[in-house]
Structures are given as C-alpha cells and as structure tokens.
C-alpha cells in the first residue's frame, strides 16, 4: 500500500489538492455527523406557512413544505456521497477485474472483453440508465447504486488494461513467471498493487461524476425518491418555487458544485502525483 500512501501525501502537498481534500473532508464529516445534530429533515413544523427565507431558526431557510433546508442538504450529502462511494467502489472493482484479466491473459479473452467494452462505451451512460430505471415506479436505492456502478467501469477497465500491458513486461513479472508462480498470484500480488495508484485517481474523479449523475437522475425523478432528501431531488422540488423561494434550489445546487469541484481538484492533484507526465 506504499504507493497509495505516497500518492495521497503528494496530493496533500499540492495546493489545490489540499483545498479539495480539505473541503471533501468537511463535507464527509458533515454528512456523517450532521444529521444527528440538526432537526429531522422530514419534519414539517408548520406546513401552512410554507417556505421561509434564511434566518436565525433556519440558516438556509425552509422549503415550500416548511422543512429545514440545512438539514435536508446535510442529510442529502449523506445520501449523495453514500450512493456515489458505493457505486464507484463497484465500478472500480469491475473495471480492475476486467482490466487485469484482459491485459494479463491477452489473446482471445482480451479481444472479446475489449470489443464488449468498446460497444458499451458507444452507448451514452445516461441513456442506459434512463432506460432501465424507468422500469420502476419508485426506484430502489440499491438498484440505483448497482446500476450506476455497473455502467461506470468501462473506461476504468481500459486504463487498468493499458497499465497491465506495461507491467506485464516488467522484469519482476517475467521473473515470477519463470519461477512458476500461479496466474492468480501474479495478477493479485504483482499486478494489482501497481494499478492501485491509477485506480485511485480514476475513483476520485468518478465520485464527482457520479454525484452529478445521481443529482441529474434525481432531478428527473428517476433517482432518489422523495421524501428521502437528495440534492438533485431538492432542486426538482424547488422548481415550483424558483421565483418566490430561490434559496430552496440554491443551497442544494451549491452543495453539488462545491462537492464535485473539490472531488475534481483532489482527483487532479492525485493524478499529478501518480503520473507526473500528465501535469
């Protein structure tokens, strides 16, 4: 795990990496701890009043159902980050597995897997997701995570494969083969640890993408279902009160922008650390 720690340390020394990491940490801590400290995001103290502007009681104001927007944004962070992390973890696992097998075994296996990936890359991800998610009347969160994860590994597998093609020619891989090491062992012990760096970069950047994707799906009503708060869903609901209560849409929107931006800042810094050539 040394290369990973080195990369993280290098990214931390990068100014924009540090800013990104810092904000991400705040968002993550808020997402974990926040919901316990804030009022219930579903409570509607006085539904007849409707939305109130930001003020002392509700720093971000309330939405048209008089729910506290701050606690909804914070709980939404938990949902959005949770979905994003799980989906990205799934994508990275699939991408790494396919890339390692394809790159190391080569030949027919490689050709078949990579043509499938080519095909999958030719179809827009959003299109596949809309098509499948439309099956449900209320999309289950688990289905959302699995589908986003299952459609996000294609490019990753290509990156891993390219890395494996290079590593396969390394002297220590050849030495391990000459020693009679089993394939499984070469893949897991000699190749996998060396692709963790690029994988980490891809994952960090993918988190930003997936947060946007989930927000987009929720905005279309095909993601997280109300009353569970999600940033995209909140923006969807705020549409009706866009003029009278703009804060209902601005705060979740800001949350999306800030989180995605800091994930990308950190991801870019990490990439510079792992691969100085792309700087």
């Amino acid at each position: 795990m040394r290369p990973v720690l080195d990369a993280l340390a290098a990214a931390w020394h990068h100014p924009q990496g540090r800013i990104g990491a810092f904000i991400l940490l705040i968002v993550a801590v808020t997402a974990i701890v926040g919901p316990w400290l804030l009022p219930d995001p579903l409570s509607q103290p006085d539904i007849l009043i409707g939305s109130t502007p930001p003020g002392l009681g509700h720093p971000f104001g309330t939405d048209q159902l008089n729910r506290d927007i701050l606690s909804r944004v914070v709980t939404g962070a938990r949902v959005s980050l949770g979905v994003a992390l799980l989906a990205v973890a799934l994508s990275m696992t699939l991408g790494a597995a396919v890339g390692l097998v394809s790159g190391y075994l080569g030949g027919v296996v490689d050709a078949v897997l990579m043509r499938l990936v080519d095909g999958a890359l030719a179809i827009p991800r959003l299109f596949i997701l809309l098509l499948v998610l439309a099956v449900w009347e209320r999309v289950p969160v688990l289905a959302l995570i699995l589908l986003i994860g299952a459609t996000g590994w294609f490019a990753t597998s290509r990156i891993v494969r390219a890395e494996v093609l290079r590593l396969r020619e390394e002297a220590y891989v050849r030495a391990a083969e000459a020693l009679g090491a089993r394939r499984r062992r070469i893949i897991f012990r000699h190749l996998l640890p060396n692709v963790v760096g690029p994988l980490l970069v891809t994952a960090t950047l993918a988190v930003g993408d997936v947060i946007l994707l989930e927000a987009g799906l929720s905005f279309l009503g095909l993601g997280i279902q109300p009353p569970m708060p999600s940033w995209g869903g909140m923006i969807l609901e705020s549409k009706e009160v866009l003029v009278s209560a703009p804060w209902a849409g601005i705060f979740p929107g800001l949350a999306i922008v800030i989180t995605v931006l800091s994930a990308n800042l950190f991801g870019d810094a990490l990439r510079d650390a792992v691969d100085p050539r792309s700087a």
Partner: protein, 335 residues
C-alpha cells in the same frame, strides 16, 4: 552422463514489417549434461537471452516458437506443455537468474515473501516451514544476518545482495538446471567475482547443470565445460572450452578474442570487430557474418552449415573446409 536438456533446431519468430516474420533465434541446437556448465556467448542482439526465455516458453508476445523446434528436459517435451503442466516445470526443473537484480525483484514485497512465493509455488507445506527453507537458502547464498534480511525490501539491499537473493529465489524449488542470464553484468567487478563464486559453489553442492549466458569471455574460462558462440540467431562455433580457447576458428570468435585486452603477452593494439550486429529483420544472406568478416570470400555468399574443425569442435564457416586458409587466418588473428 545424462542429458538434462536438449535443444534442437530452435526457432523463435516475431511478426515484422510487410507481414513477414523474422527469426531472432534461427535454428539453435545444443544440449546440457547433468552437473555441467555450458556457456552461450554473444553480443547483444545475438539471440542468446531469447533462447533462454524460450526454454520455459517465456518468449514475450507477439513472438512465438516455431513448430519443428524441439526442447526436451529428460523425458519431458517442453514445447508440448501448456497451462498448469508448464507452470510446474518453471522454477522446478529450470531456475532462472535474470540480468538485472534491480528490476527483477518486485519492489513492494519483502525478500522473504518473494523466496517463499517460489517455494510455495511448487511444494505444499505450511508457510512457517517455507520460511525456514527461505532462511536456509539465504544462508546458502552467503547473505549475512539472513533472518533480518528476510524482512528487508529489495531497495534496502545492495546490488550484490539483491543478486544473491535472485539466486536464492531461482534455487527455491531445487531445479536441476539453472539458467544464468548475464548474472553479473549489472554488478561491480569485485561483486561479480563473489557472485560467480557463489554460483560455482552451489552448482558443485547441488549437482546442477548451468546454462551461462554472457558476453564476457573472461567469466567463461575456467567455469564452463563447453562454449557455444552465438551470432545473429545461430550458434556459429561450439566446442569444449579448452579447445575453443586454444583454437578459436570462426572469424567472429577470433574477433571476440581480439576485442578483449590481454594482460600477459606483448603489447598489442586492440582489434575490435568493425560495425555492429545486423537487426534480425535484415540478416544478410549467405554467411551472416559476411559483411563484417575480414576473411569473407566468394563461398561466403552461400549459407554455411555447421562444419567440423576438429573432433568435437564445429563452426558455421566455410573456412573449416579449407584448413590452409583457416590456419593461416588463425595465425594472423592471434599474431
């Protein structure tokens, strides 16, 4: 005298320009007796390393071993092996020491892990027992403080120590054949001697056959039982070491000797071979050494077979048919 390795008509090809395949190893034949050392000598690009990789079917893709090639280890037809059967002979029948100990060890695992990996790839035993064995191997290759070194990472060791570790790894499954591919090229001269001494000692104690691949005639003398000189993918001269050193007959071999400075004897200008080895995509027709050969004559335009120079001494040069011209040439070369 039993043969542990027999290589016959080994050809390795790679796809080249214009859909034509080219042959960096082109018809190599030799054999290795139990407990003996055979040296494969040649310049970079002569195909000697590729020959050693082919022994374990480790030719990098897109290269392939041509049909018609034969590699036998005892009763085993190596080229017929695939998958698990092939894996079982790698490391077990043949251990390989690669040239560069800096890159042949995986930087992220300890030395102990990598030796244990080699043991467990071939023997079923508890990890603790494998560890004991690893410790013993490190002792055998002369590493001080072996139990401490077991936990060291490759970057914490010197070049010489790393090469000792490589030897320990190559020996971990107790192979009967050891392929040493330029084992000392990447090392300091003083360390070279130590590593060679370790190799000699282990060969003696284990009765291994050694295929020593080198470009250094100095380490061949007094170590190898037989020498095969490779040029442009072929063996151009082969003989017992003493005979070859006493009577180097192929103009290329003579050129190699003339390129090495001598400590004894009259002071003489070094006489390196002009030019460099042609690329395998553009091997000359006829004798492949012809463009660089000071003694090329009309017949060199035909490809020479291996011809007898004296008993148990062959070369791929038409001069073998013309003792007059040949001995004249030798005198000229040796001075």
């Amino acid at each position: 005298m039993s043969r542990v390795l027999e290589v016959r008509d080994l050809r390795v090809s790679f796809p080249g320009p214009d859909h034509r395949r080219f042959y960096p190893v082109d018809g190599v034949t030799f054999s290795l007796e139990r407990g003996k050392t055979m040296a494969l000598v040649g310049e970079s690009g002569s195909g000697k390393s590729l020959t050693s990789l082919a022994l374990l079917q480790l030719v990098p893709s897109p290269g392939r071993i041509e049909t018609g090639s034969v590699i036998r280890m005892g009763e085993t037809d190596v080229l017929a092996l695939r998958g698990e059967a092939l894996r079982r002979i790698r490391g077990r029948r043949v251990g390989v020491i690669f040239q560069d100990p800096m890159t042949s060890l995986n930087p992220v695992f300890t030395v102990g892990d990598q030796i244990i990996e080699g043991i467990l790839a071939h023997f079923k035993m508890p990890r603790a027992t494998a560890r004991e064995r690893a410790l013993h191997l490190l002792q055998e290759v002369g590493i001080p403080d072996p139990s401490g070194r077991l936990k060291a990472y490759p970057h914490q060791l010197s070049g010489g120590m790393r090469q000792r570790v490589m030897i320990a790894i190559a020996l971990s499954a107790e192979p009967e054949i050891l392929v040493a591919d330029e084992p000392t090229t990447a090392l300091d001269v003083t360390v070279q001697a130590q590593i060679l001494e370790v190799l000699d000692r282990l060969q003696e104690s284990r009765g291994m056959a050694v295929l020593l691949i080198t470009h250094d005639l100095g380490i061949v003398a007094g170590r190898a039982d037989r020498v095969a000189v490779m040029y442009a993918g072929q063996i151009v001269e082969e003989a017992p070491t003493a005979r070859l050193f006493a009577n180097p007959s192929h103009p290329y071999t003579q050129g190699l000797f003339a390129s090495v400075p001598r400590i004894k004897g009259p002071l003489r200008r070094l006489n390196p071979i002009g030019g460099s080895i042609p690329a395998p995509t553009a091997w000359p027709s006829g004798c492949r050494f012809r463009p660089r050969c000071p003694k090329a004559f009309d017949k060199s335009e035909l490809e020479p077979p291996l011809l007898m120079v004296e008993p148990d001494h062959q070369m791929r040069c038409w001069l073998a048919e013309e003792p007059q011209r040949s001995s004249h040439a030798v005198n000229e070369a040796i001075g």
